[in-house]
């Protein structure tokens, strides 16, 4: 397989995963805004800009933070490389360039999503339509994943696509956890409000019921942290994402019969994470933990690039 083909498959899936995550975050922010008190009205809109890592870009274009502008920026903005509309476009563009590696079914989903999205005007939608637009994107993203799982051969293409999905998801989870309400110290007065917000957060990850099944009805910071970081049954936990990235890297190593530096890196990250506990994370500082793993994920991305996307001097041994 061409190095550039592998790279395009990888990025196509990173972008659609990003579009889905942004939709989820946008949906949370919208729900929180419905019940928030008036003083800190725009807090959730600021935190969503932080967790999608586009606050600077946003402020470059806009003087102040308000709901309508943030929605538009995250969903439609041309100049925001991570806007949902751009992510869908990049996914389609990358797939379009490797049409011979994807099935007709996969192409149909992304192409029709792109075409339909072209017809939705950024000027005309109403804010009240945001939940619908977000769930439409989530649906399309699921359809795409479904088409990939049910029609693509389980060969190297499939592994590169999945690597894109899991790397992006791991990266997003780190930022998702990083919303300020989650890590701020909690006093009793705030507890009730936090329960509510956690509830919304879990719903957004489509994990509200699953969480209760595993941890009971009482929410706590520790439980939520465990669920999002360590739970190996939660498809949106950090551990699950990294573990799956590792599995696909292992598949590639055996498919090509070449041990890659990326695979050994993923193994190291996973074993380091397995040794940790929630208590240790809080004791050593939550921010440090997030920064550390954000770096690790980025490092893993670089290793994947060096192993497979270089094309001439591929690095197979660490």
């Amino acid at each position: 397989m061409l190095s550039s083909t592998a790279e395009k498959l990888y990025w196509a899936c990173r972008y659609i995963e990003r579009a889905e995550m942004t939709s989820r975050l946008l949906d949370v922010a919208y729900r929180i805004s419905l019940t928030n008190n008036k003083e800190n009205k725009n807090d959730e809109w600021e935190s969503i800009l932080l967790s999608t890592a586009v606050k600077e870009e946003y402020l470059f274009k806009n003087s102040k933070i308000n709901q309508r502008r943030v929605e538009k920026f995250l969903f439609f903005e041309e100049s925001n490389k991570s806007s949902i509309k751009n992510c869908v476009r990049f996914t389609r563009e990358n797939f379009r360039m490797v049409r011979n590696r994807i099935t007709r079914e996969v192409w149909d989903v992304i192409n029709s999503t792109y075409q339909e999205l072209q017809d939705i005007s950024s000027g005309r939608y109403k804010s009240s339509e945001i939940p619908n637009l977000c769930s439409w994107i989530k649906q399309k993203s699921s359809m795409l994943k479904g088409a990939i799982i049910s029609t693509q051969l389980s060969s190297d293409s499939y592994d590169f696509m999945n690597l894109g999905y899991y790397l992006e998801r791991a990266d997003n989870i780190i930022r998702f956890i990083d919303v300020k309400n989650f890590i701020s110290p909690i006093n009793d007065k705030e507890k009730e409000n936090n329960d509510y917000q956690w509830g919304i957060l879990l719903r957004t990850l489509a994990a509200y019921t699953q969480f209760r099944l595993s941890y009971g009805v009482n929410m706590s910071q520790d439980k939520i942290a465990h669920f999002l970081i360590f739970n190996n049954t939660n498809p949106r936990s950090l551990f699950y994402s990294l573990e799956n990235a590792k599995i696909h890297l292992k598949n590639l190593s055996s498919f090509y019969n070449l041990q890659s530096g990326a695979f050994s890196t993923s193994r190291k990250i996973i074993s380091k994470l397995s040794d940790l506990t929630v208590k240790e994370i809080f004791d050593n500082g939550f921010n440090d933990f997030l920064a550390q793993y954000s770096d690790d994920i980025n490092n893993l991305h670089i290793k994947i690039r060096n192993s497979y996307f270089g094309g001439v001097y591929n690095v197979f041994e660490d």
Binding site: M1, L2, S3, S4, T5, A6, E93, R96, M97, V98, R99, N100, W107, D108, N111, S112, Q115, D156, L252, Y256, L258, Y308, F309, G310, G311, V312, N314
Partner: protein, 468 residues
């Protein structure tokens, strides 16, 4: 008198009888519905071409017309033998031009017409490509002017496009109207990709002992024919590459793969000569492969089509093609040329300027229907402007009489109506020569318009060759 391919002398021609019935079988409005459905399918599959508007690429669809264009097997025999003859002669001409140049020594074609042409590629002089073939894929444009007369409008020897539309048009017709294919006995076009791959395999360098590694080289996804590039790579089962996917080392070409470099033996390139190799041609090219020409000339890779092919489809050479056929094959041309005046000749220039309002004037290097004047349809001002342009630069222009392009029934906002059509059959030349039994029919959707180019609002039709 314009020839209508369906209705001749007031009655429906035999090959069109079933189609006539088929058209009449549509209830009111149902044709419109089917028409819309066809456009939707095209959009969903993503069959688009790019046009540049406001400096950014926009994806457009080519309008598809559902009424097929039909040829009898005898008509096709004539077209096929004419196309083969011409492709063969033009390849002999290309080999000669870059080697012995006997056609020039014999004064059949003036030397300056060749050596001063932009399409002449001096770096190819003295080079003999595998099987001595330069132009492996030709798309010679043919128009029909009467029941028995087909004439060649222009030759395309470099990288003619449109074959993917030919195949998709058929695909859509078969999906939407399977009954039509049961009722009519139509030649299949399915084996084009297989034949293309066989042809490319047959021109691999002599040094290549194993199954050759073939790639399709595209300028990228913003190129107007990108869909076709990926379509062909897909159906042939070969890699679609861009310049950056390839590199050369010690005069060999490699592609960058996930497991390291892999040697490439045949490049079906869909980028122009000029951009092919920055070390040999335009040094600013970012889409080419540095060093590929050296690899080619050292016999380590084959480039299809060979650089410098363009000299054979140059509009200034066009009027000499009948002489070329006679010179190399000692045969009479099977398909006629359109009478052409080369403004570089003084006598022709005088005639063109006097009769400009009845003529079609074309730029020698123009394409896609641009830089063209259709005398009878032009305003006084346009004629004045073109007269001035021709006088300033006579060698840049040729002129031809306006042709009575045949018409085919076509669906319009006012129901079925005749529209002008042309024809692009595709011919492959490797170990064997092969003309696909089908073609791309382009149709001018505007009433009375003669311009069929997709960039100027032309549409396409499925093209049938009936079995005997």
């Amino acid at each position: 008198m314009i020839f209508n391919e369906m209705i001749n002398n007031g009655s429906i021609r035999k090959p069109y009888k079933k189609i006539d019935k088929w058209i009449k079988s549509f209830a009111e409005n149902s044709y419109e519905k089917k028409h819309q459905e066809a456009q939707r399918i095209f959009k969903r599959i993503g069959i688009t071409f790019s046009v540049y508007e406001k400096k950014s690429p926009q994806e457009r669809m080519i309008p598809f017309d559902m009424v097929p264009r039909i040829f009898t097997s005898n008509e096709w025999k004539l077209i096929e033998s004419g196309i083969k003859q011409r492709t063969k002669a033009l390849n002999l001409f290309l080999y000669d031009v870059y080697n012995d140049a006997s056609i020039i020594k014999e004064k059949i074609i003036p030397a300056e017409l060749i050596y001063k042409s932009r399409a002449f590629e001096s770096s190819m002089v003295g080079f003999s490509p595998p099987r001595k073939i330069f132009s492996h894929i030709s798309g010679i444009d043919v128009v029909r002017t009467s029941l028995n007369k087909f004439v060649v409008l222009e030759d395309n020897c470099r990288t003619p496009s449109g074959v993917s539309y030919m195949m998709q048009n058929r695909e859509i017709m078969m999906t939407m109207f399977p009954d039509l294919f049961n009722d009519n006995s139509i030649e299949s076009i399915d084996d084009y990709p297989v034949n293309l791959r066989k042809m490319l395999t047959s021109i691999a360098p002599a040094s290549c002992k194993n199954e050759p590694v073939i790639v399709v080289l595209t300028p990228g996804s913003y190129n107007s024919a990108y869909y076709e590039h990926s379509f062909l790579a897909d159906l042939m089962g070969v890699e679609l590459v861009q310049g950056e996917d390839l590199f050369t080392e010690k005069d060999k070409v490699y592609m960058r793969t996930v497991t390291g470099p892999k040697k490439v033996d045949v490049i079906y390139r869909r980028i122009d000569d000029n951009y092919l190799d920055p070390l040999c041609f335009d040094q600013n090219s970012l889409i080419g492969v540095p060093g590929v020409m050296n690899a080619y000339k050292n016999g380590n890779v084959t480039i299809c089509s060979a650089p410098g092919c363009g000299i054979a489809d140059d509009k200034a050479i066009y009027s000499y093609v009948p002489d070329i056929i006679k010179f190399y094959l000692s045969e009479k041309p099977i398909l006629e040329n359109v009478k052409t005046w080369n403004c570089s000749r003084e006598k022709d220039l005088k005639f063109v300027l006097q009769n400009i309002k009845d003529l079609v004037v074309k730029e020698v290097h123009g394409s896609g229907g641009h830089g063209m004047l259709i005398g009878p349809k032009a305003t006084k001002n346009q004629i004045k402007m073109f007269t001035k342009k021709i006088k300033n630069n006579p060698q840049k222009y040729i002129a031809q009489p306006t042709l009575d392009l045949s018409t085919c029934p076509t669906y319009t906002s006012n129901g079925m109506s005749p529209r002008h059509v042309d024809l692009r059959p595709f011919c492959l030349m490797g170990r064997e020569m092969n003309v696909i039994k089908g073609a791309l029919t382009r149709v001018a959707l505007k009433e009375n318009s003669l311009i069929v180019n997709s960039s100027q609002g032309g549409g396409v039709k499925d093209t049938w060759v009936l079995r005997k």
